[in-house]
Point group: C2
């Protein structure tokens, strides 16, 4: 297969007509498919049905401390949940706070508290500063960027390489501007690229000397146990790495069971140094009487321990791997060798990232939408929704059944090609 | 029985010795009782066990809209939960947002959003103002005051009469100081006095013309369906009353099932005008992906409708009424006619409020604690924990079994008397 860029104008026009014929056939099907959100499919949700029924009488409502989880409880979670999820995030039970159903909510709350009171070591609440900036490795997770936008925090894009954020750039920026208060990270099976930060990147974080003494790494470890097969990425423990350099207060870590048990009814958690946890708990007292401990207990009863979670994740992988394979195989078949797209082949997580030719992402997504397939909006993976090269598209292959997914991806590849041909004809 | 204040010094000393003898006997018992928190007892929690088991398979995880409540959902709740709890708060389903497990958390979040962005109609975020003040009818709920303290909001005490807040004082303050941004209210079976605002008080709120155009009434209707018997207080609908005066944006209402189903695992909600709800939902998008819809569905399945909640609350009342009666009867028997205490006899809610002689509340609570009975700290019912007359004590009779409660209240009455005699001997 030859590269589209070597095509003559006539060849491009021929290709375009051919693609438009195929596109018309897709449109005639009246598809209504959605690949826009990283949602588990119904078969995945069924894997955790046991969570729902494992607590039903007054006796099994008690935590190991003897407290009745139906009643008002503690601020930071029941001991057995702290132990289980500390294991999952690779921290100690003294370094974790168990929250409600949403880790995004815990991140938002961390920002809200930082704005109103500052973090441990802040001279001033962030809201009292003239300017607060945040580093945003891109492509990244749109909901992280929405939080910054909500709080009026200026976002600075940093390139995400195949090893993690461009740490030379992170260093150059963070070490020379004390209004830069932190960085967003999705270190494992990242959203959207599915890459995992290398040890060198984690070490570079530990070597970082930010100008702002209250700089914080927001380490959203959403996919820490979300492997697709036995071939797994490993992520170096940032908390212990920072601690070895005397900087353990520099990171806030987050995780959840949103894609382990249920997205809507899972358990979220935040981990950090003991000093950060103590500081946070003092503020949390004003915020709530405490999270839903019954739901914590349900999760502990169902998963029992980290091995239980790992076994459970294999069942998710068995459902998800064929979907990822279907996408990657179709990309290989339809798009490789044409010089019009590049994509990632993650070993875990929920997404695949694809780059079109520059200036083709929006058009590709638009073409898909017109033919009945909803894709994550182009630009969503960049701060303010603006992809400077208009090329990155996030593919979320998990929700549709395989047959629907295959149809959607066939259409998607067609749209990538059509948008590329249109672009090349403009030149 | 004669009043203590008419006693001679000799009589007081005799009485003191007699009381100390009894107190020693109590101390010898080595009691370990807790009447400090408004927690339901285990028998009350058992009433709602059906909530836990009513959802267990994939089919009954679906809301009436067809959405799978296990997966990511909506920001503001499933339709059937909005309908049920709108009925409970006496608003329309378009005027409600269903939240997580804690209405206190929703109030805190409302403040946080107001600080960062302001409320509908604010010129500036509250955090950007030099001064923000709040009116705090007293005695009141300590956790409300903690929220203000957390956000650095200056609290101004206003007297709570038997009809509700002293509205002449509220008017005088709110209409002449635009840094006063709102007022805390627990309008029904108030915490701690158990009184319900009269129609005149609600009408006075609707007639209020606050100097701050973004003034907000925080209407914490925590005990809206929490009657102790068929003799029930009724509360005029503040939202419709305000609407009739063109001021429907002036109130935020809150409620929850914390003391209907489970304190730790209930459902919380916020109600307001449609304009306020739209404004809030726009901000909520940054904050979370959505609350636990499965728990909403559990509650709807179990309670079905408002009649279901009302019937359920009768079962709570059957457990709680004897406890309230035990306290009030003992107060009557031990304290009446002595001129040393006054108390309320609520028809609902979770608390009884008692005023000692001025300057005797702390001492009374301290004496109880020394003999093994924990009472809500004196002062907790006032901003900054400071009761200017040191006389108000909140009694929370719900958690201990009746026999323990009777012992605790016997001791409490003894301590009220002993503290009073000590005080009178000082004079």
């Amino acid at each position: 297969m030859s590269k589209y860029e070597r095509f003559s104008k006539t060849q491009l026009l021929e290709k375009k007509n051919e693609l438009i014929e195929s596109y018309k056939k897709f449109k005639a099907k009246g598809l209504q498919l959605n690949m826009s959100r990283g949602k588990p499919g119904a078969d995945q949700l069924d894997l955790s049905l046991g969570v729902l029924s494992c607590i039903s009488d007054s006796e099994n409502c008690k935590s190991e401390s003897g407290s009745d989880c139906r009643n008002y409880g503690t601020l930071d979670g029941i001991p057995e949940a702290k132990r289980l999820f500390a294991d999952m995030l690779n921290v100690s039970p003294e370094e974790i706070i168990i929250g409600g159903n949403s880790s995004l909510n815990m991140m938002y709350d961390t920002f809200a508290r930082a704005m109103i009171h500052g973090v441990l070591g802040s001279d001033k609440p962030w809201a009292k500063l003239e300017k607060v900036k945040f580093l945003c490795p891109c492509p990244g997770y749109d909901r992280h960027f929405t939080i910054c936008e909500h709080f009026g925090i200026e976002m600075i894009s940093v390139e995400n390489t195949s090893e993690g954020p461009d740490m030379a750039e992170v260093k150059r920026l963070a070490e020379n501007d004390d209004s830069i208060k932190g960085i967003w990270c999705t270190p494992k099976y990242s959203n959207p690229e599915g890459i995992t930060y290398t040890d060198d990147v984690v070490d570079a974080f530990a070597a970082l000397k930010p100008a702002a003494k209250d700089f914080r790494i927001f380490w959203d470890n959403a996919y820490c146990v979300h492997h697709l097969s036995e071939e797994q990425d490993t992520l170096k423990n940032i908390l212990t790495t920072l601690r070895a350099n005397g900087k353990e207060d520099m990171v806030f870590m987050y995780g959840s069971t949103s894609k382990v048990s249920f997205p809507g009814s899972g358990v979220a958690m935040m981990a950090a140094s003991k000093a950060n946890i103590a500081f946070t708990k003092k503020q949390l007292f004003a915020q709530t009487i405490g999270p839903d401990e019954l739901n914590q207990l349900r999760h502990v009863r169902f998963f029992k321990n980290l091995d239980g979670i790992k076994e459970h994740m294999k069942k998710h992988a068995a459902i998800l791997k064929p979907k990822f394979d279907a996408v990657i195989n179709t990309f290989e078949k339809e798009l490789s060798g044409k010089g019009i797209a590049e994509w990632t082949s993650p070993r875990g997580g929920y997404f695949i990232s694809l780059n079109t030719l520059d200036g083709c992402a929006k058009r590709t997504v638009e073409l898909c939408l017109e033919a009945g397939v909803v894709i994550t909006p182009a630009g969503a993976t960049y701060p303010y929704g603006k992809d400077p090269r208009d090329r990155n598209i996030r593919i979320a292959p998990t929700f549709p059944p395989v047959a629907e997914l295959e149809t959607a991806i066939d259409l998607f590849c067609l749209c990538v090609k059509l948008a590329a041909v249109e672009k090349l004809l403009e030149a």
